[in-house]
Each structure stands twice: as C-alpha cells, then as structure tokens.
C-alpha cells in the first residue's frame, strides 16, 4: 500500500513532535503532518520560562527547533499539508490532505487549540488592523503607541509585559478584579511602570474605519459604558486578545468523542473511542495545557501506538 505509515501524527506542535520522537525511537515508520508552522502556538510565544531545562532565555522558536532536530535525527518524517478529511474506522486509517493521501496503522491527533475570540462586534473585521492574538508578530507596529491587553491569565499578563518593550502604555483589561496568572508573572506586571490595570471590565465593541480607532468598555459591576478613542496624533492603538483557547477539532466532529467545548476525550493512555487512534496535547480534555503536558501526552500516545501495532499487526 502506498504511503503506509505505522503512525501518522496530525499536528506539529510540542505534543506531535514529542510523539514523533518517541515513535521514531521505537523504529516505527512515522510521519508528522503540519499545515502551517511547526511548533504550533508556542512559536509565537516570546518566552518559555516554565519548560523544565529551557531556561535561561528560551524562546518558543528555539525550543521547537531543538525538538524538531532531535525528532528528525531518529528518522521521523515531516510534511507540510492541510488535512481535509479522515477515515479512522478501518484497520488501516486514511488521512486525506490537499497535497496527498496517507495511510496509517495508527493515528495521533495533536491538532491543538487556537486563541479564542472576544466575540464582540468589530473584532473579526479589524484583525490585522489593530486587533491581534500574536504579540511577537505584531508588537513592533505599536512602538510608542497605546495598547490594550484583554485577559487575565498567564498569556495575557506575560504578553502585556513583553508589549511594554514597544508600546508607550499597556493597559490590561480584565473582567474580574483579580488576575489568574501565576504569581511570579503578576509580580513582573505590577512593578512595570508602563502597565495599568482596568478591573471588572469587558470589551463590548471595537470600532474603526480600516484600522482600530476606538473601543467600547463595559464595567461588569456598574454596567457603565465608556468609549476610548485613539489619541489624535497616533490615529490608532492595539488590542491584544488572550482570553483562552478553542480546540482545533472540526475535522473530527461526529467521528470521535468530544466534550461540549469540542475537546477530545481520552483515557490516561491517550486512547480515544476508536481503536488505534490517540489524542495528545491541547486538543484533549485536560486540566493544564502547557508544553510540558503536551510533550508528556505525545510520549504516552506514541508508546501506546507501538503496543497497539505489536498486538494488531503482528502475525
């Protein structure tokens, strides 16, 4: 059979790369299919301070480059393709991409998650026009301008601190009156003179003709509405959104068991409801979505895939 792999891994983030490493070391014929940028969300993160062994000054791209090199040194293949359909029901699974068709004895789903939108009017229309979900991509545009960061978790506060290197003022807009971010990250934010906090506030609407020109805030306690306009000289400002994540699992809807939010349900061996198919990383139902937990998932999934192949394909 053409293109028959022991393992096809869909997604080239930390979960997929870790699965690739363990699968290749087990001498399984391994293919990772990634549609855009290897590394997933972590390569748009400027600092990875919490992956064991990655300090000092580890960046997302440098960590991923080392993971990739390590994985390839054991013989895993990597291809760039956008998967458009999967048939996971047979003994041999079929994965269809825009560029080619792949057959696999086992499949590891490691498609990850994407940043969640605020969901307010004007947001989608102004993406790339002042609304951003990627500080490392877009921070530079806001040099000496004003920036709002929406959210209160690790990503929001970390990226707010990063943005102070560019923007003249960074305001964190959070719907509660307490941040969720790790204490060490909060400390960095609180002692940064460029950072201000706007508590109990949500974004109701983003407005602008071609670029962001104003934002409408609502106080969750008083219901008070307040529109903030760009400084006349600036003409615009930035709104960076870090309000959580949505699973990237559309391809598998109706085919694999998911929770209400669309995350794939696995057991502790990363097995899902279909034999020979596993899920790893941010796409699965779990309590902590981090590089370190994705890497752990990937390792377990690959070893379970190896056992499954031994059991099902050995005569």
């Amino acid at each position: 059979m053409e293109n028959l792999y022991d393992v096809v891994i869909i997604g080239g983030g930390p979960g997929g790369l870790s699965a690739g490493l363990y699968a290749a070391r087990a001498r399984l014929k391994t293919l990772i299919v990634e549609k855009a940028k290897v590394g997933g969300q972590i390569v748009i993160t400027h600092e990875v301070a919490n992956y064991p062994g990655s300090i000092p000054n580890a960046t997302g791209p440098s960590l991923i480059a080392r993971m990739l090199e390590q994985m390839k040194s054991f013989g895993a293949e990597l291809t760039k393709d956008n998967i458009i359909d999967v048939d996971l029901t047979g003994k041999v699974k079929v994965i269809k991409g825009e560029q080619g068709k792949y057959h696999a004895k086992t499949v590891i789903i490691a498609t990850g998650a994407v940043p969640k939108l605020i969901g307010c009017p004007g947001e989608v229309e102004l993406i790339g026009k002042g609304v951003s979900y990627c500080a490392t991509c877009d921070a530079d545009f806001f040099t000496d301008l004003e920036v709002f960061v929406v959210g209160g978790g690790d990503s929001a506060v970390e990226e707010a601190v990063y943005l102070t290197k560019f923007a003249r003022k960074v305001t964190i807009v959070h719907r509660r009156e307490k941040l969720r971010a790790a204490k060490s990250i909060q400390e960095k934010a609180f002692k940064n003179p460029k950072i201000e906090l706007l508590w109990n506030t949500v974004v109701e609407e983003i407005r602008g003709d071609g670029v962001v020109q104003s934002v409408v805030f609502k106080n969750t306690q008083t219901g008070e509405i307040n529109e903030h306009f760009a400084d006349e000289e600036d003409g615009t400002f930035g709104i960076f959104v870090f309000v959580g994540f949505d699973p990237k699992g559309d391809l598998f809807k109706g085919k694999v068991t998911m929770d209400e939010a669309g995350y794939i349900i696995t057991n502790e061996d990363m097995k899902i409801n279909i034999p020979g198919v596993f899920a790893a990383g941010d796409i699965r139902v779990k309590s902590l979505r981090q590089v370190v937990t994705a890497a752990g998932d990937g390792a377990i999934a690959a070893i379970q895939a190896e056992r499954y192949i031994e059991h099902e394909f050995t005569e």
Partner: protein, 106 residues
C-alpha cells in the same frame, strides 16, 4: 521575489503598473517565515503576470500603517498602485492567497 523597503516601495509598488503582490513580514513573525516557501512557489506560478515583492515591516512601520497593515502575516494585492485585495493572519494560507490572485488575475 523582490525585497522592497520604505525607500523603494513607492516606485516598485505604488507607481507600478499592473499587479503587484506584497508579502508584509518581519523577523519576529514565525507564521510569516513558515508561509514564505509557499509564496515563493506561487510567485513562480504567476511569473510574468504578477510582480511578487516582500516588505520587512521592521524599519518600515509607518509605511505599513499607512497601508493599513497592523498585523502579520498580511499579503496584499495591488493593481496600478491601488490595493485591491488582501488576506491576513489565519486567512493568509497558500490556498487563500492563490484564490485571491485567481479572482483578479485571469
């Protein structure tokens, strides 16, 4: 692909005749780097029909903002110096860039 900067953009893009595509990118933008090989392949396909250029927005920030580009990656299509179409961020994929070109050039 022709690398343009804030000094050459006027001549190479805004005063150019026919179709010019601009790939807005910078060094910090990993999605931009991942996309570049795709754009180079598309450039080869449309050689003679569309002039492909790339602008590093670091050092050309004001120029990018004047073109209403405040996010990367952004791929814009110009005709006779006027921006006629654009894809940005998650829409900046090989398939969608080709679809944008096909829509205007054929």
């Amino acid at each position: 692909m022709l690398a343009v900067d804030k000094d050459t953009f006027q001549v190479e893009v805004l005063e150019a005749e026919d179709f010019v595509l601009v790939d807005y990118w910078n060094d910090g933008c990993e999605p931009c780097k991942a996309l570049l090989p795709d754009i180079e392949e598309i450039a080869a396909k449309y050689e003679g029909k569309v002039k492909f250029t790339k602008l590093n927005t670091t050092g050309a920030r004001r120029l990018a903002i004047s073109q209403k580009v405040l996010g990367l990656p952004t791929i814009s299509l110009y005709k006779n110096g006027l921006k006629i179409d654009e894809v940005t961020k998650d829409d900046a994929t090989r398939a969608k860039i080709e679809a944008m070109i096909e829509k205007h050039v054929s």
